[in-house]
Amino acid sequence: MKGLVARRRNPIVASMLLLAALLGVGGVYAVATTAAPAEAVATSDQTAIDEGKRLYLEGCSSCHGLNAQGTSNGPTLIGVGAAAVHFQVSTGRMPMAAPAAQAPEKPTDYTEEEVSQMAAYIASLGPGPAIPTAEQLDYSDADIAEGGVLFRINCAQCHQAAGGGGALTNGKYAPSLMEATPQEIYEAMLTGPQNMPVFGDGTLTVEDKQAIIAYVMDLQEAPSPGGLALGRLGPVSEGLFLWAGVMAAFVGIAVWIGIKAR
């Protein structure tokens, strides 16, 4: 101790104290900054909800009501969940350009961030299906054949066996699945947009949904083994091709042979 007292005026002490102070401040700062993100998430959640509400009031509230309670022009959005918002807005179906039998797909004006802000706002109003996680959307291990069976049982009667879409009553329709992403398909099954029924996890489990997605992705990507697919619309486009293409060609050839004989 005596030695320490004796050395307290040593010139090195000042440097040591400075170093210690710096380390202390830096350490506290480091701790403080690592703690900060947790707080920041909480605040940005609220920011997202606020921002989402602002976007909602701008773009959606005229039909769905100022508190998403629904009006005569649009249903309530309380409890539809983030998945529904993401599906409808990111595919451009909402907001609708004009009243119609069904909201058509179109390019969306919202960024991915804005969509998730609106989704956060709607999700904050009541519990509903959340946007599927990357894990749920991973269909790499799914059984395509099982997906095909499920697709034919649950989907083909509206979306057509090849996923090309089909007509419903009074101008409504089941859209083509040829451009749909796994996330859109998953969200559609989860939330049942427009005329589509809801296929909750009790009806189609997560594995079932993944299998269906795998099958639809296969339909999208698989080449047509038979050649030109004619839109895979079945006998209508085949008949059209037969008459407008083949039959017309043969009549043309018959005329040609007829002329040559003269």
Partner: protein, 581 residues
């Protein structure tokens, strides 16, 4: 002896020295067929039928007509491990595991569609040219039978793969059988050996598809061609062609070369399409199970009109003594096709009765020279086409962004309103063309040369018709028939006409058929008219040397040259000449 005759002769001699068939072949190989491109439409049907037979034999080697449930273990991954019938599994094997199988299967299907399309087009030709008239009525009936059999062959083949699409078609077929009052339910049980789909239907259908119907078609095609052979082919009117001769080329070598070449063209194009264009991708539709159905389920095109009738028919049913009669199915899918095919088969006899025409006809009508028949044909095609649209109403709705309900309502009205309009419009067009033909026969054709007369008037020079065109137009004389005379209630001897009412109906129908036809000019009138036109056209030359100072009075077709310095209208000129040009 021309080169072509020499070739025919030498081939006949070669065969005769070996088979001793000179008397038959010597005549037959030199048999003359008239030439026109539309006479080759029936050949397309014949050739596509041959392709169907050849490819069909290949398919029978690998197809298994069995409804035994198996687990698929072929090379098409999206169906691996799925339960399906052996029929469907073997069709998948043909498509993916048999070398060349998919090509042959697609050729078979395309050729089948083509077969019926070509028969239809051939039928249009025969109908619109009146080739079905006496003595060829029976061959027309055989033709209608062939089309009916073709539909049966097509539908039975469409159903064999036992995929989701064809199973849906069978389900509808069963519904149609059930809709027949009284016997329907039992009929369906009989066909399917009990409840749908049962385990028997595919093997039963297989026998029908590969044996019964092809056998019948082959037999009828043979009779069809033999009748063409013995009755000789009809021909279009032209120079030197009469009702009693056949102008054309000998079978050997000209027709053999043309027909043989055409066969290879048809075969080649069908093979090309079979290889390049997908048809009936059954692997996408999946195996049939009765609890599934796909949107956009359609029959092949030739059944489309029946499906359309079924789709647009209003939902009417009655309950009688506790039994439901489904008019909404029975009428569009049993009554309507029944009427259509019966009327089609009987048409030659109906027309002969109405027109009272008992002459033999080896010279074809130009469609315009039978305006009512042409109108009826276009009316039938319009009716068919509207129902055909109905069969694809869902595809049309989604493709063109329309409401399916709106399409159905449009068709319900259009199918009644549009065919009569099509009839009237077509008939009027034909009569208009007849009028123009009459003009041409009397006044030559408009040459397109415009002439300016010295007094400033413009006229168009008419030229006489060519020999060929004149022969074609003059066929109107042969085609024309006055309506039947009105029947008398009591004949000259005072005997009452027992069939007065029937005759009256016939008289009215005959008037409807013929009354508006344009009466063609007589041969003398045509002769005079053409001579006049020739004369006028010849007068065109001196006109160029017209001298202003001299008084020239040249009568000219469409106008009269007048005295220099004295402008006069045509009317004044005519009056001056006593109305005589």
């Amino acid at each position: 002896m021309s080169t072509t005759e020499k070739v025919g002769e030498s081939v006949a001699t070669y065969v005769d020295q070996r088979v001793g068939s000179n008397r038959f072949l010597g005549r037959s190989l030199k048999k003359v067929f008239p030439d026109h491109w539309s006479f080759m439409l029936g050949e397309i049907a014949l050739y596509s039928f041959i392709i169907v037979l050849l490819t069909g034999v290949f398919l029978t080697l690998f197809y298994k007509p069995s409804m035994v449930e198996v687990v698929y273990d072929g090379s098409y991954v999206p169906l691996k491990g799925v339960m399906m019938s052996e029929a469907y599994a073997s069709t998948l094997d043909i498509s993916f595991d048999v070398r060349g199988g998919l090509l042959i299967r697609q050729m078979h299907h395309w050729a089948a569609l083509l077969f019926i399309a070509a028969m239809s087009v051939h039928m249009f030709r025969v109908f619109f040219t009146g080739a079905f008239r006496k003595p060829r009525e029976f061959n027309w009936v055989i033709g209608i039978s062939l089309i009916t059999l073709g539909l049966g062959a097509g539908f039975s083949g469409y159903s064999l793969p036992d995929d989701l699409l064809s199973g849906t078609g069978l389900q509808i077929a069963r519904g149609i059988v059930q809709a027949i009052p009284i016997v329907g339910t039992w009929g369906a049980f009989l066909l399917f050996d009990g409840e749908f789909p049962g385990t028997e239907f595919i093997s039963r259908l297989y026998g029908v598809h590969i044996l019964l119907i092809p056998g019948l078609i082959l037999a009828l095609v043979t009779v069809h061609l033999m009748m063409v052979w013995t009755q000789k082919h009809t021909q279009f009117p032209g120079p030197g062609r009469t009702n009693d001769n056949v102008v054309g080329y000998p079978l050997m070598p000209i027709y053999m070369a043309k027909a043989g070449g055409f066969f290879f063209v048809v075969f080649g194009v069908t093979a090309l399409i079979g290889g390049l264009v997908s048809i009936n991708p059954i692997w996408i539709f999946g195996p049939y199970t009765p609890d599934q159905v796909g949107a956009g389920s359609q029959p092949d095109w030739y059944i489309g009109w029946l499906d359309g009738a079924l789709r647009i028919f209003p939902n009417i049913e009655t309950v009688l003594f506790g039994y439901t009669i489904s008019w909404n199915i029975f009428i569009p899918s049993v009554i309507v096709p029944g009427i259509v095919f019966t009327v089609a088969a009987l048409y030659p006899f109906l027309e002969a009765w109405v027109t009272g025409d008992k002459r033999d006809h080896n010279l074809l009508n130009r469609p315009r020279n039978a305006p009512t028949r042409t109108g009826i044909g276009v009316m039938a095609i319009t009716f068919y086409f509207l129902l055909f649209i109905g069969g694809g109403n869902d595809i049309i709705a989604i493709t063109f962004d329309l409401s399916i309900n709106a399409i159905i309502w449009f068709l319900r009205i259009a199918v009644i309103v549009l065919p009569p309009i099509a009839f009237l419009v077509t008939r009027r067009i034909c009569i208009g063309l007849q009028r123009r033909d009459r003009e041409k026969m009397l006044h030559g054709y408009e040459s397109g040369r415009i002439l300016r007369l010295p007094h400033g008037e413009f006229i168009e020079v008419h030229e006489p018709l060519s020999l060929k065109e004149r022969a074609v137009l003059e066929s109107a004389i042969e085609s024309y028939r006055a309506p039947l005379p009105a029947p008398e209630k009591v004949d000259a001897n005072g005997v009452a006409n027992k069939h007065y009412r029937r005759d009256m109906i016939r008289y009215k129908l005959s008037r409807w058929f013929y009354a508006d036809d344009i009466v063609p000019p007589t041969r003398q009138e045509i002769e005079a008219g053409q001579a006049h036109v020739s004369h006028d056209a010849a007068l065109e030359a001196p006109l160029h040397e017209y001298d202003e100072d001299e008084t020239v009075m040249v009568p000219f077709h469409g106008g009269v040259l007048h005295t220099a310095g004295e402008p006069a209208t045509n009317r004044e000129q005519l009056e001056e000449r006593g109305g005589n040009l």
